[in-house]
């Protein structure tokens, strides 16, 4: 009799053990940085950038913690996050804001291990940042968190000089706020930017001339 009772208790316990954890284990089976209803915008071996309900998030698999960047499409009432790039523990992205006929863009570097913005800089430096519109045409970020970009200045306001409508700039540890002007000129090829694989420098073209600048 005692044996039968013990057996029943064991089977009941086993039965309970198989039944209870099922929903929990199903919930735990979501891969790291996965979220229901999300859509992948970019992925690397180390992390994922995704949109959920029109908000853009970045997440490092190691950390498994999402960091909100901005809105996917709208830029009028909330900042828009575009052009995201994952590099090591960082995500470089462009924060775009628009209002009326003018708009502005800035490059932003976020550390995905802390969720904090490490550095940011406007697309270009202008005589009057409140006039005209500016944007980041292209940028590259390396694993140290340094950024190089090509910024453009629109025509509604005066640029410092006609040559400054297109600027090549970089922002790295120790850079002055706003970054460093590397080059400027109307003949800078906007989609010519390229980062070396080790991230130690970047190329761009001015007319047909290839140029190289270092990046820390």
């Amino acid at each position: 009799m005692r044996t039968r009772k013990t057996a029943l208790m064991l089977t009941a316990a086993a039965c309970a053990a198989t039944a209870v954890p099922s929903p929990a284990s199903a919930a735990q089976k979501l891969p790291r940085c996965a979220e229901k209803g999300s859509r992948t915008l970019q992925a690397t071996r180390d992390g994922r950038i995704y949109a959920r309900k029109s908000t853009v998030y970045a997440c490092l698999y190691k950390k498994n913690r999402r960091v909100k960047l901005g809105h996917e499409t709208a830029c009028e009432e909330v900042p828009q996050a575009t052009g995201y790039q994952l590099a090591g523990r960082y995500v470089g992205w462009v924060r775009a804001e628009c209002g009326g006929p003018e708009g502005s863009g800035e490059v932003v570097l976020t550390d995905l291990t802390t969720g904090q913005i490490v550095r940011s800089a406007p697309a270009v430096t202008t005589a009057d940042p409140n006039q005209g519109s500016n944007g980041v045409f292209d940028f590259r970020v390396n694993a140290n968190g340094s950024i190089a970009w090509i910024g453009t200045y629109g025509s509604t306001g005066p640029a410092p000089s006609p040559d400054d409508r297109i600027q090549v700039r970089k922002l790295e540890a120790g850079s002055p706020a706003g970054g460093t002007l590397v080059d400027s000129g109307p003949d800078i090829v906007e989609d010519s930017l390229a980062l070396t694989h080790d991230g130690s420098g970047f190329y761009y073209r001015k007319g047909t001339t290839p140029l190289f600048a270092t990046l820390r």
């Binding site: 010519s192 694989h197 190289f212």
Partner: protein, 223 residues
Amino acid sequence: MTKTASVVLAAAFVAGAAFAPASASAAKKKPLPNCAAKKSSTLEATKDARVYRLGSDIYACRNKKNRRVLLGSDECQNDTAASNFTLKGNYVGWVATSCGLDSGSEQIRVNDLNTGKTLYAAGAATRISGVSGRLPASTFVTDYVMKKNGSVAWIGTYGDDGTTTIDSPADEVQVRRLQPGAPAGGEIVDQGQDVVLKSMALAADETGFYYRKGAAPLFAPLG
């Protein structure tokens, strides 16, 4: 009392037994995401594709196709080691390494992930200077870029002493490319021991690639 308890427990067991297989079969039915493989580790990934190691084999897989393509292994002796992967469009670019005790040879390869077939394959570098060196020599791909259409450009070395160090007149450094219409084995774009080994980068518009020769940045088109 004991009998009643036993009956209740037995009923609970029956209910549990009926429930357990249902949940187990539900779990079994849930398919793995595309290109996922149990016990695999990701070596490279993009939004659209993944390169992974499973045991000692290395595979590439495009999510839409969900079909793995065997590239090589992680061992270069008596085998082909696969490394340095680039995923872009329908293609995976990679470096194939075969090695002996004192020398090795590398190839640049591009595979179509829809068909699994090789689009391009070429040795890292060839002897062109005519300077006689010690054999066997080693060839290495020190850097490469790949476009969305699978065209590749790379910097290859022909090492007289089995290393990547360029320290002998017989050592060569070549900038090469493979693009539609190129001869098998690719074409030499530039050469010289002052070509910086890891200086290659693809322009954002993919019209061409950069490299450095000494301190001079150079640009060459890639079709």
